[in-house]
């Protein structure tokens, strides 16, 4: 064996032309193949990432008609949440978002829902109000929120919402660790939020605490709970008109699709559900995806063609070189045979020479392959991919400029080199919608009022009842409308901080039921029962000495209120004017 390898090595070294040619061709072939394979793998990985991460959104808007003078007139028909809901159950939908115009309410049947009896019967062990440092967001899938999806936020205690909780009614909440610490809350504790201007409280049980890498302090509640508990408490439009029940008017629906490829499935589902496609437009924002995908597939195809071409050509050239030198080595074979070497051994020796050269070439290719591949990837990325991505992003910019109402702009970042991250998709809500209604679309986030729900500062005021305004000889300066539901009209003096349409949480003097922490404006602790009712400022009257700065309300309203709150007029401090 020693002699065998001695012969092999000696021949490889002593026949430099043959060795070099074989080595060079094999190295070149292997190197190109490694580069092509690396590019193919990266591109395939990028394609997978692109499909997985690309935020394809199907947007449904009212169909607009362009008038002869070029004015865009949207259809008078509005979408409703009821129409949207079946579509949200399509297998191609991962999440959905709604944009409502300002002041809209959910449908009438949602209006009258009150906290259940248990809620009223069992005051919370601990109650907290939401101050301006806390924001609450209603989600339909917490895991898919940007913070959790990206790994920035992680549950550290408790759990995510269960499917039962997501169906609503159980009132679960997940807090950030900072919020929990600040309020001394732990798993199982109950939290009550008082929503701005609504005068209502809702009780939620802490089921999970998360930690955020960015120090986010969002609180999450299930979307269904939002629908059930909070939609009715949306009279934030500051006009009594807006409090009146009327159908919800959705101006825009966004469905986050499971993959960009599922756009057609979504449209088919919409059609099969009888969605009126003559009145509404469905725009699927997948143009950028397909533009980049086409670019990537082009690179993939090219790299595969080069791979197989080089493999074929390299193999043929190597075979020719081996054939040439083998025929010229016939004499050597004769000599070795004459000297008594077995034919099989001679063949094995010759083969080993080529195997040795191939191993050396392959090793060199593997060693240098990484560096060459990186250079090639940079080149491919600069010359081909960047162009495709830029083109796709430019298309997005163009679409945004031409159709601001529809497009959810996304910026694609795609790299073959840096860690196969593939794509970081961003969906930006069109800003004018956010500004317009102060409710807008974010990924996985539904309505939020100015991004936070803040406790209204409560004033220790007295409420008086009266039969008619003439009885205290003062004119009501303004009156916007009538109320329905569990809100009671009141009138405030002109110099009070309240304006028409604002809601004042109702705080009857029934003490000891619960401890309520109020926000900054409240300036202290209050004791009282939890209620889901309030006074809506219905009018303003000029101040008068004998009335002072009391709030007044019609006697019938006062009686209704006392009945609702199960309190007798004796326990309620009131002054009757006849």
């Amino acid at each position: 064996m020693k002699v065998f390898f001695h012969f092999v090595f000696r021949n490889v070294i002593r026949r430099p032309l043959r060795s070099f040619l074989c080595f060079f061709i094999a190295l070149l072939t292997a190197l190109v193949m490694i580069v092509c394979q690396t590019i193919s793998q990266r591109v395939e990985s990028a394609l997978t990432d692109l499909e997985k991460n690309y935020p394809a959104v199907a947007t449904i808007t009212r169909r607009a008609v362009i008038s002869p003078d070029g004015v865009k007139i949207p259809s008078s028909r509005y979408l409703t949440v009821d129409e949207a809901y079946p579509l949200s159950q399509s297998g191609s939908v991962k999440a959905w978002n709604i944009t409502l115009p300002a002041g809209s309410l959910a449908q009438e049947e949602l209006m009258g829902k009150l906290p259940d009896e248990e809620f009223l019967a069992e005051p919370p062990r601990e109650v907290i109000s939401v101050d301006d440092r806390v924001s609450v967001q209603a989600v339909n899938n917490l895991v898919l929120t940007e913070a959790f999806y990206s790994g920035e936020s992680k549950i550290v205690e408790g759990r995510l919402f269960t499917s039962e909780e997501m169906r609503g009614g159980t009132r679960a909440i997940i807090l950030s660790r900072n919020t929990a610490r600040r309020y001394g809350l732990a798993l199982g504790d109950k939290v009550t939020f008082d929503f701005e201007n609504s005068g209502s409280f809702s009780l939620y049980r802490v089921v999970g605490i998360y930690e955020s890498g960015k120090g986010t302090e969002l609180c999450y509640i299930p979307l269904e709970d939002y629908f059930r508990d909070l939609c009715m408490l949306w009279p934030t439009g500051a006009h009594l008109d807006s409090v009146a029940a009327r159908p919800d008017r959705v101006i825009r629906l966004d469905f986050l699709l499971t993959s960009p490829e599922s756009g057609e499935v979504f449209i088919r589902d919409a059609q099969s559900l009888g969605f009126d496609l003559s009145a509404f437009d469905i725009n699927i924002n997948d143009g950028a995806y397909f533009a980049v995908k086409d670019g990537l597939e082009g690179i993939l195809l090219l790299s595969r063609i080069v791979f197989f071409s080089v493999l074929t050509v390299g193999t043929v050239i190597l075979a020719l070189i081996i054939w040439f030198f083998s025929s010229s080595g016939k004499n050597e074979r004769t000599v070795l045979r004459v000297l008594g070497m077995k034919s099989a051994k001679i063949s094995a020796m010759f083969a080993s020479e080529y195997v040795l050269i191939m191993i050396a070439a392959l090793s060199a290719a593997l060693l240098s392959g990484g560096a060459v591949s990186d250079s090639a990837l940079h080149f491919v990325e600069r010359c081909a991919l960047e162009e495709a991505v830029e083109e796709a992003n430019a298309q997005e910019d163009l679409s945004e400029r031409t159709n601001r109402e529809i497009i959810l702009k996304r910026k694609i970042h795609l790299s073959l080199i840096d860690g196969y991250e593939g794509l970081v998709g961003e969906v930006h809500a069109v800003s004018n919608h956010l500004e317009e209604g102060k409710i807008g679309v974010r990924r996985e986030i539904f309505w939020s009022q100015s991004g936070a729900m803040t406790l209204l500062g409560m004033t220790d005021f007295a409420v008086d009842g009266f039969e008619n305004t003439a009885s205290f000889e003062r004119d009501i300066l303004s009156e916007s409308g009538k109320l329905s539901g569990y809100y009671f009209r009141c009138y405030v003096p002109e110099n009070s901080p309240y304006r028409v349409g604002e809601i004042i949480p109702l705080m009857p003097q029934k003490m000891g039921e619960a401890l309520v922490f109020t926000g900054d404006l409240a300036n202290g602790l209050y004791r009282g029962v939890l209620i889901s009712s309030g006074l809506v400022v219905s009018g303003i009257y000029p101040p008068e000495a004998h009335i002072g700065e009391e709030f007044v309300l019609p006697m019938k309203e006062l009686e209704l209120m006392c009945e609702y709150l199960s309190i007798s007029s004796e326990k309620y401090r009131s002054v009757r004017y006849d």
């Binding site: 002699v3 000599v335 070795l336 045979r337 000297l339 070497m341």
Partner: protein, 218 residues
């Protein structure tokens, strides 16, 4: 030492079967220089190949020291019993003259390494020639190296196929002198296939072949 008994050798070609040997009988002994002459295609080289165990006869037997060559390990036979010299020298161009000489030692796994310088001297060369690649040597020098390689195997039989075919007269005479000396002094059985009457004249025994048969012995 070598006995060729009624050996025939046929091989197929496109034109039909060629009868290269047609019942050859020979007896060769050690210590003598044999010459086999004849025209091209008379079967001289074929006979040499059969005696070297590079091929097997179509019929008949080649005995070496009484053993049927067809029934022995022919590779081992060549390693241990035969040294061969060719008209085209068949030196490996990638090796030096010394390395070419040592090939038989390396392949034959012999215990004792031959003295290359002594072998070079024996064929009229110096150690200076030993360091040169075979391609850097003249034809005569290359043939001497080939003879040295054959001698290095220390085999009792030396078969030479036109060893002087590419050499001038002086070099041819020198080569034949070496072969003669090996036969007479070392007791080897040296068989030379040649066209040259002059060289054949130097042989102890001379055979003439024609049309695949031994026609005459001098």
């Amino acid at each position: 030492m070598i006995e060729v008994s009624n050996v025939t050798y046929d091989y197929p070609t496109k034109a039909g079967i060629v009868h290269a040997l047609r019942g050859v009988d020979l007896k060769l002994e050690g210590g003598k220089l044999y010459a086999i002459t004849g025209r091209s295609g008379s079967g001289k080289t074929t006979l040499l190949s059969l005696m070297a165990g590079l091929d097997t006869p179509t019929s008949g037997t080649v005995f070496v020291n009484g053993v049927d060559l067809a029934k022995t390990d022919q590779d081992r036979f060549r390693r241990e019993q035969v040294g061969m010299i060719f008209q085209a020298y068949y030196l490996l161009p990638q090796l030096t003259a010394a390395e070419n000489i040592l090939l038989s030692y390396e392949i034959g796994k012999k215990k004792e390494k031959p003295d290359v310088n002594a072998l070079l001297r024996a064929v009229g060369l110096t150690s200076f020639h030993g360091k040169k690649r075979s391609t850097q040597l003249s034809g005569g020098e290359q043939q001497r190296v080939a003879i040295a390689r054959a001698i290095a195997a220390d085999a009792p039989i030396l078969l030479a196929d036109e060893p002087t075919g590419n050499l001038d007269n002086e070099n041819s005479r020198n080569i034949i002198a070496i072969l003669k000396r090996l036969a007479h002094e070392k007791g080897k059985c040296v068989v030379v296939v040649t066209h040259s009457e002059e060289i054949a004249g130097e042989a102890d025994v001379r055979y003439h072949m024609s049309d695949g048969r031994i026609e005459a012995r001098d």
